[in-house]
């Protein structure tokens, strides 16, 4: 099975800085991280590879060359090849322009049986890239996925979360799935993969290497949305509850509840 996982490098929310002038987030390369939901998507891909070891897992990222260091972390987890679509002309792309650019990159890379994305990125939060990407590629898609199990080389069993319900589907490949954050626990790297990552250079794609791309549909110019205003939201209403003499078990429950919100 050929699996492609789209992984965005986003700014660590703890270190985020806004630029009111450009109405964007400042992209300090030192503060980049791999988007958490995308890592959950990658984990499902790697689990399929555990079941079918002949599978190849690729990742595709779009961003500046500074993303390379974070992309190495994907190789540390066991990705076979990591690809970075990087071109100055892509700067300022909105979700629609991004999906178009990604779809062109995917088409130039070849055929994939399964494309996985995180449901949304920490910085954009639009959740529309995966469905749009599937539309551009003309393949079936499902969103809000919390579990994926391969049935055979052509069929997957997937579980989709809808509000408080879970729906189970059997899907034939090819398909694009977007995975909810925290739907699995991402594995640790292996030493041999980490050693491989030391010298690994992601494959860099520029727009010039993509056939038939319409550069008018990418970047700021090709974007259909613009940000009118960028405001940091101040959370002012803190409430505090004091639990006295709680048992260890109760404290654990409280900690679990709190952790869900951070």
């Amino acid at each position: 099975m050929n699996i492609l996982v789209c992984v965005k490098q986003v700014i660590d929310p703890d270190k985020i800085e806004y630029s009111p002038a450009t109405k964007t987030v400042k992209r300090n390369p030192q503060h980049l991280m791999n988007n958490p939901a995308d890592l959950n998507a990658l984990e499902f891909a790697l689990r399929i590879k555990d079941t079918f070891p002949d599978s190849r897992v690729y990742t595709l990222s779009m961003g500046a060359l500074e993303c390379k260091e974070r992309i190495k972390e994907l190789v540390e987890l066991g990705v076979d090849e990591a690809i970075l679509l990087s071109d100055k002309r892509l700067a300022g792309s909105d979700a629609s322009a991004t999906s178009y650019a990604l779809s062109c990159a995917i088409e130039s890379l070849g055929k994939f049986d399964l494309i996985l994305c995180g449901e949304h990125s920490l910085d954009g939060e639009t959740s529309i890239v995966p469905p749009q990407l599937a539309e551009y590629l003309g393949i079936c898609h499902l969103t809000s996925i919390v579990d994926i199990k391969p049935k055979d080389q052509n069929t997957l069993e997937v579980v989709k979360k809808i509000e408080n319900a879970l729906a189970r589907f059997e899907v034939k490949l090819p398909v694009l799935l977007s995975v909810k954050k925290d739907s699995n626990s991402v594995r640790f790297p292996k030493l041999s993969f980490m050693i491989r990552a030391l010298l690994y250079e992601p494959m860099i794609l520029s727009l010039d290497s993509l056939k038939d791309i319409d550069v008018k549909r990418i970047g700021l110019e090709g974007s259909k949305t613009t940000v009118d205003e960028f405001k940091e939201e101040k959370i002012e209403n803190f409430s505090c509850e004091i639990f006295e003499q709680g048992s260890f078990k109760e404290i654990e429950c409280i900690v679990d509840a709190v952790l869900k919100y951070i």
Partner: protein
């Protein structure tokens, strides 16, 4: 401080640190309190391939040496020395096989150890033979294709949990230390049982038990080296594994220092953080100086051993003594800096102080190490 580790060594340290901080720190208190053997963590170390860092490539390992082993032990010990020692004791059991095993023994046992499919142990100590190693009473008598082992071993780390035991027994009583031999004994061999499990002060996540041999049949091909070389095998193994105890000590000290430093910056008394008082600052400075000195001695000893040097007994003993004394001092000071909170189990430093103590005792108590160092330096005169 930059220790000029190779890129690969930095990767090993980074991976072990991640496991230590993200997994071990969360379970250390519970495993210590309940004496839980860290099988799950050993499985994770196996998955991440850290179990094989010191094992040659031809047996499925990473091909590193004592340095690589120590980097893992140090990082794991920053959060739980009990868990770290469960890992390190396998190295203590693997080294005699690496140093003296036949090709068949190495292939059979080291490949499993490297993959984390088997854990190992080293069984020398007995009730009447602690520091006085040559006084062991366990005997091995040759009978056809087998050696028959009889006797008891005490204080065996990974006892009951390990799959492979390197056991020392007397094959010729008349020859003193030259009459001791080493054997590879597998869990499940006829006549091999586990006795009392120790209820310890520290490193409580590790298992320490008695081993009982009652007419235990060990195939003759499981003799390690030649008959009568057991004492040498034990000593040469210790030369390579004492830095592991030093690494454990450096890790414990580093962990305690980090907790104390953070606490000193946060805890306010007399309107100021503790870290602004000179009495506390000097303690923190001494901790830092001692830990860095211990680590420097440890890493240079590891480099010396891995370079293929012939004799490093005194260096190996010196780093064990120095680092374990540092761990004891640093953890006591960390408890002091944290006051009452240092003395209760809500914070990890009281555990670190208990854990540190054993580094001055096992793999040769520090008094014995000083004897060894002294005899080496006097010999050199």
């Amino acid at each position: 401080m930059d220790y000029f580790l190779s890129e690969e060594q930095k990767v090993i340290k980074r991976l072990a640190k991640r496991i230590s901080d993200e997994v071990i720190s969360k379970v250390a208190g519970k495993y210590d309190k309940e004496g839980i053997f860290p099988r799950d963590i050993l499985d994770l170390l196996a998955y991440t391939e850290l179990t094989g860092v010191y094992i040659p490539k031809e047996y499925g390992g990473f091909g590193g040496g004592v340095m690589e082993m120590c980097l893992v032990v140090e990082e794991l010990s920053r959060n739980c020395a009990g868990i770290a020692v469960s890992y390190a004791a396998t190295a203590l059991g693997a080294y005699p096989i690496m140093l003296y095993g036949t090709q068949e023994q190495k292939e059979k046992y080291l490949t499993k150890i490297a993959k984390g499919e088997a854990i190992a142990a080293f069984a020398l100590t007995e009730a009447d033979a602690g520091s006085d190693v040559s006084n062991i009473k366990t005997v091995a008598e040759k009978n056809g294709d087998f050696y028959i082992l009889n006797g008891n071993k005490h204080w065996i780390t990974n006892g009951g949990e390990a799959d492979i035991y390197v056991v020392f027994a007397v094959t010729d009583k008349s020859k003193g230390p030259r009459g001791i031999s080493a054997f590879i004994v597998e869990k499940g061999y006829e006549g091999f049982y586990f006795g009392k499990k120790e209820d310890k002060m520290g490193i409580r996540a590790s298992s320490t038990t008695e081993l009982v041999f009652e007419n235990c049949k060990v195939p003759k091909e499981n003799l390690l080296g030649r008959e009568g070389t057991g004492f040498i095998i034990a000593m040469k193994t210790f030369d390579r594994t004492r830095p592991g105890v030093a690494a454990m000590a450096v890790g414990i000290a580093q962990g305690a220092y980090e907790h104390a430093l953070k606490y000193a910056k946060e805890r306010v008394q007399f309107g100021q953080p503790l870290s602004s008082f000179q009495a506390i600052q000097h303690m923190l400075a001494d901790m830092y100086i001692n830990i860095e000195a211990a680590r420097a001695l440890l890493y240079s000893t590891c480099k010396m051993i891995d370079s293929g040097a012939k004799d490093y007994t005194k260096e190996s003993s010196a780093c064990k003594v120095f680092a374990s004394d540092v761990a004891m001092k640093v953890t006591i000071d960390a408890v002091q800096i944290m006051g009452g909170n240092g003395y209760v189990k809500d914070y990890p430093v009281e555990k670190m102080m208990r854990d540190a103590k054993v580094t001055q005792i096992f793999e040769g108590a520090n008094q014995i190490q000083r004897n060894i160092i002294a005899s080496e330096i006097v010999k050199e005169l």
